[in-house]
């Protein structure tokens, strides 16, 4: 089981960075977990691990941020997306073909549209207020994934 424990956002970022080292073009990283769980910090770690120089922030209003890089990192926030039509108009399906890496906050809202081989990253609360449990699962992920 690929489960990580984080005590603060720096550690969450490092876990993102660790995942980034295993990513390849075309991967979809689906993030689950409510407000303030560290999803954006995690994506900041992904960007760092992919050597993308960008100010990472939640694209709540822009819906998608394109951070560039090779492969490019596309950061979605599906908080405001509730219908298939909404989802189409974000360009989500076009970006799936763009051969980059998609990191998707609020994947809860579009779970049925996620590609089959998506990487699921689920955040939940730990014992202390700032503790987080980060569970990483997916079809392509076995227990040796991070070795």
């Amino acid at each position: 089981m690929n489960t990580f424990f984080s005590h603060n956002s720096d550690q969450t970022e490092q876990i993102g960075e660790k995942l980034a080292s295993k990513l390849k073009a075309g991967d979809v990283v689906a993030l689950f977990g409510g407000l303030g769980m560290g999803k954006t910090a995690f994506v900041r770690g992904l960007a760092k691990g992919l050597s993308v120089c960008a100010d990472v922030s939640s694209p709540t209003f822009a819906l998608v941020h394109d951070y560039g890089g090779n492969p490019a990192l596309y950061h979605f926030d599906m908080y405001r997306v509730s219908t298939w039509e909404d989802l189409s108009t974000t360009g989500f399906f076009d970006y799936l073909d763009a051969n980059g890496i998609l990191a998707i906050e609020w994947s809860e809202n579009i779970e049925a549209a996620l590609p089959k081989n998506s990487i699921y990253v689920e955040f939940s609360k730990g014992e202390l207020d700032n503790d987080r449990i980060i569970k990483i699962t997916g079809e392509s992920i076995d227990e040796n994934f991070f070795d």
Partner: protein, 233 residues
């Protein structure tokens, strides 16, 4: 009449400059959805190669959809910007009708199909010969519905578009008389947008850049739930 055309409704993008029916210069890029990066350099190179100033373009033409949301938006935004700055008229043509012009001169029925994902396509049919005559309107349907549209046609049916291979493979043993357009005639091209726009302009007048609108056909996708989990778990 000098026509400047843009086609970027799917993963490929192209730009062309033509004079009536004569194609003067065309650029084509098929490296993924990077139209926002490739469209303007292509526009510049096409004009440079034809030795034509943007100011001397008479009409700006665009394939306005159906197609990829991102692609169509980029194409229309670019076209509006160019045409508005020159205060020149525009014309929007159907992506599906424009690609039927790829087969101009061959006696057949062209079935234009664009992949709209999940076994859905954007499609329309045209009678092709010396000119192109529309048979059915642009629509978004399930691939299963295509045989109904293609029955009782007494000409060979040729598939064009990025959904051509998909439809051909699914329907080959269900419908007689279908074939795939040769690969060099299969996909959207700005030069075909130009050919289509030229014919349209014989029948209708051009419109202002402000009046150009994207055409997003809504896919029939079964309205299944987008969220899988309920609020409680």
């Amino acid at each position: 009449m000098r026509i400047f055309s843009i086609e970027c409704s799917a993963t490929a993008a192209s730009v062309a400059i033509s004079d009536d029916k004569k194609l003067l210069s065309e650029a084509y890029t098929n490296t993924g959805l990077t139209h926002s990066q490739t469209l303007m350099p292509m526009a510049k190179s096409v004009l440079d190669c034809a030795n034509i100033e943007l100011e001397s373009v008479d009409v700006f033409a665009i394939a306005a959809g159906p197609g990829s949301f991102t692609g169509i938006r980029i194409g229309i935004a670019a076209l509006k910007g160019l045409a508005m700055a020159q205060n020149k008229p525009c014309i929007a043509v159907s992506t599906l009708e424009a690609m039927a012009y790829n087969m101009l001169g061959r006696d057949c029925v062209v079935c234009s199909v664009m992949d709209a994902r999940c076994n859905q396509v954007y499609t329309a049919t045209f009678k092709c010969g010396k000119n192109i005559k529309r048979i059915t309107q642009d629509e978004a349907i399930m691939i299963d519905e295509l045989p109904d549209i293609l029955k009782n046609l007494d000409l060979p049916i040729v598939f064009v578009g990025d959904g051509a291979e998909l439809c051909y493979n699914i329907l080959n043993d269900k419908i007689d008389n279908i074939s795939l357009a040769p690969i060099n005639f299969r996909y959207q091209r700005a030069s075909s947008v130009a050919a289509c726009a030229f014919e349209k302009l014989k029948l209708q007048s051009a419109i202002s850049a402000e009046e150009i609108l994207p055409v997003y056909l809504r896919a029939p996708q079964a309205e299944r739930e987008l969220k899988k989990r309920t609020e409680n778990n």
